[in-house]
Symmetry: C2
Subunit: 447 residues, 2 copies
């Protein structure tokens, strides 16, 4: 067997895939443009944090890396909303014991590269920039940091090289290749709240949100007591990165919008000026595969906005699905790739739409009473009918229900929630524990 595989990109999805294929005995060469992240000097809290949930854990456990990652992750049991008046409101993500897990991108990537690297049949080549792919051979060519060009032939090539994928750029030249890149109105910037003598300065087990309508600040915990913060602002117009530039403007903006946060970020102005402002892009394309030779997965084929915490999870789920299809089809990569892209594309589109929709929810709705009322009804339904009513957020985060199915069911749930929210006494009914009899006597949730 020992089929030869080239993986372009040693990010999260590339290194996970390398581990899977390494475990299965493939002869795997991974090429990565950047230096080895295990040797790079990245201090904790200075890289974006990921929120790992069920789909992520499933794939991590599949390759045997779950426990190592769990040891480095922090459970976030719900959202902690910070009001302009410095009030706090906590909203659990799911039932008791259900959580999403904060982990730094760099830390997770290091674990996964280490994990894949333990297989003798997996080899990492860092500082190799992909120049071109011959899709038919297939052969990939790279340039090393010393300017030397090399070519590598294999049976299969996987492009796991992210939203600005070089492998996809080659496929994009094919007739009938559909492609779109759509930037949203907001850019983002990393900031940081340091720990105080190793202690957390805010609730540790929460994803903190400062929802302000057209903009938002979030913070995710790190094991060292710090929080990695991300500020989302429009890139132009009022209250935008274009307008907020001077020390006074930065301070005035934070003092009026995030008064409790600014107290915890004494070096705000330096961080704001030093850290880059980055755009947020949604990538959609099709096809994702070429014959039985080349496939793009993860952000390379479906980059989404980060507001559902599902970008990494969706990329990891690609790897789980490839594993299932390898069990089903063995070495028939033609059929395997065809089924992979046909089956997976609607789910990738679904989570792209959900993630965009969740941006509105996070930056605006979570701060509104009617929305919190709806969430309370939703939670009561979940507790009363745990089999029949699993909220969309729970389906997406705590199960591996296909994303497109979660959209379909969620649309139906919206109608039920609309109906229930229309009853003036609904919160009293819930508080009295009478939701089940109310629902049953009113014929709600028929479907």
């Amino acid at each position: 067997m020992s089929k030869k595989v080239t993986i372009v990109g040693a990010g999260l999805v590339g290194s996970l895939l390398a581990a899977l294929l390494g475990k299965k005995g493939f002869d795997v060469q991974v090429f990565e443009r950047r230096p080895d992240i295990r040797k790079a000097n990245i201090s904790a809290g200075k890289s974006i944090n990921m929120a790992c949930s069920a789909r992520g854990w499933k794939a991590l456990d599949l390759v045997g890396a779950g426990d190592t990652v769990r040891a480095a992750a922090i459970a976030m049991n719900g959202r902690m909303m910070h009001g302009v008046d410095e009030s706090l409101t906590f909203q659990p993500y799911g039932k008791e014991g259900e959580a999403i897990y904060s982990i730094s991108r760099a830390g997770l990537n290091q674990i996964l590269i280490d994990h894949a690297d333990q297989f003798e049949n997996v080899n990492f080549n860092f500082e190799h920039r992909c120049l071109d792919i011959d899709l038919d051979t297939p052969e990939a060519s790279f340039e090393t940091k010393d300017g030397i060009q090399i070519s590598h032939s294999s049976d299969l090539i996987f492009g796991t090289d992210g939203a600005f994928s070089a492998v996809r750029a080659v496929m994009q030249r094919l007739k009938h290749f559909n492609y779109s890149q759509e930037y949203i109105s907001h850019d983002y910037k990393e900031l940081s709240i340091e720990g105080k003598g190793g202690e957390f300065q805010m609730e540790k087990h929460a994803l903190h949100i400062w929802p302000r309508g057209s903009h938002m600040l979030i913070a995710l915990p790190n094991p060292d007591g710090s929080f990695t913060c991300t500020l989302f602002l429009p890139y132009e117009g009022d209250n935008s990165f274009e307008k907020i530039r001077s020390e006074q403007e930065i301070k005035a903006f934070f003092e009026s919008k995030f008064p409790d946060a600014i107290k915890l970020i004494p070096n705000l102005v330096d961080l704001f000026n030093e850290n880059p402002t980055s755009p947020l892009v949604i990538i959609r394309c099709f096809p994702w595969t070429y014959d039985d030779k080349v496939a793009i997965i993860g952000d390379a084929s479906h980059a989404i906005v980060p507001f559902y915490g599902q970008g990494m999870n969706a990329g990891f789920e690609d790897v789980s699905i490839l594993d299932e299809l390898m069990t089903k089809y063995g070495d028939d990569w033609k059929v395997l790739f065809e089924e992979f892209q046909t089956k997976r594309k609607p789910d990738a589109d679904a989570i792209a739409d959900l993630a965009l929709k969740n941006f509105i929810e996070m930056r605006d709705l979570v701060g509104q009473d009617w929305f919190l009322k709806r969430k309370k009804i939703e939670r009561a339904l979940y507790e009363t009918f745990p089999e029949r009513f699993v909220p969309q957020y729970s389906m997406v985060s705590f199960t591996d229900t296909p994303y497109s199915e979660a959209v379909r069911i969620g649309n139906h749930q919206d109608l039920i929630l609309d109906q229930l929210a229309g009853y003036e006494q609904i919160l009293e009914i819930i508080d009295k524990g009478e939701l089940r009899s109310f629902i049953e006597s009113n014929n709600i949730i028929e479907q």
Copy 2:
């Protein structure tokens, strides 16, 4: 004044723009990848035909090329539908005297290059392939057919280099540049019906359509008595270019689908095998301009499918609008470009959608009785209320009503047509000339 302008692409829109800017006294250098089309050997009827309508004529007259083009064009007063039973049905496009005009792409391009070339301040550089653009300078670099690289600086650069624009490819690398390329399910192939001793073998003043649901053949007249035909087929699946390949398959397909056409194309199999199969792509992007320096217009910023006959007309209208804005803003290209793209983008999106919708109309609906009934009602409304009810097709083809406005009004008209088509006696009422009193007594067309 004599500002220096670089135009990348000497196709229809590029050469029209060169003529406009030449006339206004700009110092214009046009660079084109292909050889001079005036010297290329393109026999009549072997290139795609354009359907020039009001927006096209407005721009052609603006630069003074309208009459030369008119002399080479053939009026098409309506659609001639060919049934599988070889029956013919004629449906006029508009009122008496309203027509769209068939002209070959190559012939029109030759006229426009000649027209622009008469200005001493306009210079054409053929066989210059665009390599890169420095957007800030701005400077464009090219490679000649001899492999020599040259650079050209100017005050303004216009990318008029079509759906696969090199200028746009440079802009695509900018942060926040939204872009999509979407291929439709159908490819196309050119065919030809020759004249018989210079005589037309079908009605000269019509656009001929063989509507067959999932596929379609069309034919547009040329001055030499021939018709340029275009076959639209899915690129894969049943009755597709993928499936129809052998002589027997080609003949059997045409005999069953286009029995009257095959009699007029004795060299069908040769043409089918020799002519390329080409894809149809919809390009959407934004922004279209960079600072006060670079703009992409025509197919480079908004390529659409050919089913409304508006691709060229929309590109020409870009030139008319630039002319209006130059009158309004003079030399303030920053403001001019900003208004151009902000105002024009919704119209480009609107005609892209209409063109896709018209594909369904042309290949399918025009062969159905209920649709022809609706068209008859629409025409009667137009004749009865020529100011109040201008059909969408007429707004698009015979006026310069903004495309987005035509969509808005058309949606309202659909409701009126639905309502009228619901009256069983409506065709009798129209035939008796009683439409006006019927409408007025039933309060239809309020608003």
